[in-house]
Each structure stands twice: as structure tokens, then as C-alpha cells.
Symmetry: C2
Subunit: 192 residues, 2 copies
DNA sequence: GTCTATAGTTTGATAGAC
DNA sequence: GTCTATCAAACTATAGAC
């Protein structure tokens, strides 16, 4: 019988993914052991391998989880009348994460670097973390009439977000992130 | 008798630091073993501990090496008549590193994240990697008459560089980096 | 200063009882 | 599906001969 549904806590598979996501965000992929993840998820170590054949398989599920989370955020931000307004909405969503970012960095950005450094099985997965964001940004810019420039604008916007998040963590200053997001809002305003 | 000076290759200590710097840049701190570093430096594993008491000590020496390298780059860029011209010079130096960045990311940025994720002994060392750069940027902006705004401008410039480098590696596109550096040059020009 | 051998621990992964 | 016990490999670090 399945272990989830109306009952108290999520099933073991989801608990493992969630625990892996958090541990990898805090300590990095290479430094996070399956034992740590299993303990945090309250699942016996040997049982992990029933749900995920390898550590690589588990992090692949974590990537999918991140993709679902960012897609949900994009859907939230999509509730706005104008394309530039929707981009402002997304920036507003980022502001809510500043406490997490100052502590452990951007979840997507950190995992992206980890994947680029990881072995040959994972090194091409990092672009997936940013694909949805980039496409959504580009779509908004295109709808705002930016034409062929839209893709470059999307990349620039994501680069600013990633750089601001990295520096925010490195300097342990949430103000760094909020200041840079202010600049981003100003930049968007100027594009109108 | 010392193992360096006019002879062929650097002494063992410097070889270890250089090998550690490269391996950590390629594969990350946590995933890089002392055995790998020792082999690349052509030093027996047991001998590493004569020069560095722990792996942490070795990465601390790598940090100092990075600080020396970035200081040398800043000195090169400092050869210019105007402060904004010197900032343009620095951007020009960054352009020369685009092949390395697209392959393994910004050496300072990657190590910075690794240090933030590492244990309590290293997590406060990452800001040292950026301190010299930030101070030098701020000095140039101040000399350009930007006053109290100078520090914020320095942080913004470094954030743009770091975000561009990260996305350049993530998307395996050197063009991402060069495009963003073009924007940075344009931004500096506009500040004049 | 240099190097071999190895201790002691942790890791990813498996076997097999229930 | 679940869990204990454990393997084989890799790791940081040390001991001790030279």
C-alpha cells in the first residue's frame, strides 16, 4: 500500500528527494553522503537504493524537483497584465528568498556549479536548471516587443540574478541581493 | 638544499599549490583528493603532509595563490591614465580568460562557493577572494568622482562579472561572457 | 627532507533475511 | 517493500625507515 496521500507526511521517495535537496544546497553535492540524506529523511540507508539505483539517480530527481519549483514560481509571476509587469513579479518572488540565499546561496545556482564539476554523467544537466527561466524571460521580453534582442535580455537578467545571489552569499549580506534586485527593477522600468 | 631557484621546475610546495589550484578549479574542493593532487604534482602522497598539515591548510595556500594572481591582474590593469580606463583594462584582462571560464568557470567564483559550502574552518575565507577586487573597483570609482556611490558600483560590477562567468560555464558558451563584458564596457562608458 | 606502508574512517553500493 | 549487516574502494592522516 502506498505510503502517502491524506496521511501525515510524504512518502519515502519524496522525503528522500526533499532531504537531498536541502543537504546538497547546504553542503554541496560531493560533500553530501547518502547516509546523511537517509538519516534526515528518516529512511534506513539500505532502503535508499530501492527508490534510487545510484546517488546520481537521486540528484537527477532533485533536479526535477527544482524544475517543478521554478515552474511554480514562474506560474505565480505570470499572473500579471503586462509582460514587463510579470518580470517585476518574478523579481518580487526572488526577494522573498533573500534569507535563504544569504545563508546558502541560490539553490539553482549552487546546484548548477556542483553539476558542472561532477562527473561525466551529470555535467550536461546544469543547463536544465536554467532552461525554463531563460525561456520564460525571453517570452516576456518578446511579448514586450523586444524582438530578436529578447534572448540576450533574458540571459543578461539571469546573469544579474545569479551574480547577485553569489555575492550575497559570499559577503553574507542580504542587502547585496536586495540592492541588485532594485537595480534590476530599475533596468526593467527603463526598458518599458 | 632547497629544490627551486634557477633549476627547471618549481619546488614541491609550489607544485602542490599549483596542482591543487587546477584540480579544485576543475572538480571542486570536496571532490578533489590529496592523492589526485599529489600525483599531478609528482609528489608522493605521504610527502604532502610535510608541506601542509591538512587538506584545509593546502586550500588556504591555494587561496593565497589566487589572491596573488588577482593582485597581479589588478596591477596590470592599473596601468592607465584614467580610473574608468583602468576599469576597462580590467574587463579586457577578463576577456583573455574566456576559454578557461567557459570550460570550468571563474576560478575565484567557483572556489568561493566551495569555501562557503565547506566546513566551519573555511566558510569565512571566501570573502578574501573578492576583497582585493572590490576595494580596487571602489577606489577607481571614487577617483572617478562617484563618491559614496562607489562601493555599490563596485559590488554591482563584480556581481555582473560573477553572474556572467557562471552562466558562461553553465551554458557552455563563451559568447555569453563576451556579450556581458560588452555590456559592462558600455555601462562604464555611460558612467563617464 | 623524502618516501613506503598502513592505520582508521567514511563512502557508495550490495546481499539477503523478513 | 523494508531493513540490517556488510563489502570493497577511497579517503585523510600518521608512523617510521631512510
Amino acid at each position: 500500500m502506498p505510503d502517502s496521500l491524506p496521511s501525515g507526511r510524504p512518502n519515502k521517495r519524496d522525503r528522500l528527494i526533499s532531504a537531498a535537496r536541502d543537504a546538497i544546497h547546504c553542503h554541496g553535492y560531493a560533500a553530501t553522503s547518502l547516509a546523511t540524506i537517509a538519516e534526515a529523511a528518516d529512511v534506513p540507508l539500505g532502503n535508499v537504493y530501492y527508490y534510487f539505483k545510484t546517488k546520481e539517480d537521486l540528484v537527477r530527481a532533485v533536479i526535477e524537483d527544482h524544475e517543478a519549483l521554478i515552474n511554480a514560481t514562474l506560474e505565480t509571476a505570470a499572473a500579471g497584465p503586462t509582460p514587463l509587469g510579470r518580470l517585476h513579479n518574478f523579481v518580487a518572488e526572488l526577494r522573498k528568498q533573500s534569507e535563504v540565499v544569504v545563508e546558502h546561496g541560490c539553490p539553482l545556482g549552487c546546484l548548477g556549479q556542483d553539476l558542472d564539476k561532477a562527473g561525466p554523467g551529470l555535467e550536461n544537466e546544469s543547463r536544465r536548471l536554467f532552461a525554463a527561466q531563460l525561456l520564460w524571460f525571453e517570452t516576456q521580453f518578446r511579448e514586450a516587443g523586444k524582438g530578436e534582442e529578447s534572448k540576450a535580455l533574458a540571459i543578461h537578467m539571469l546573469a544579474c540574478i545569479q551574480g547577485a545571489s553569489a555575492l550575497c552569499e559570499r559577503l553574507s549580506s542580504a542587502e547585496v541581493l536586495t540592492n541588485e534586485l532594485d537595480l534590476l527593477d530599475g533596468w526593467l522600468h527603463q526598458l518599458a
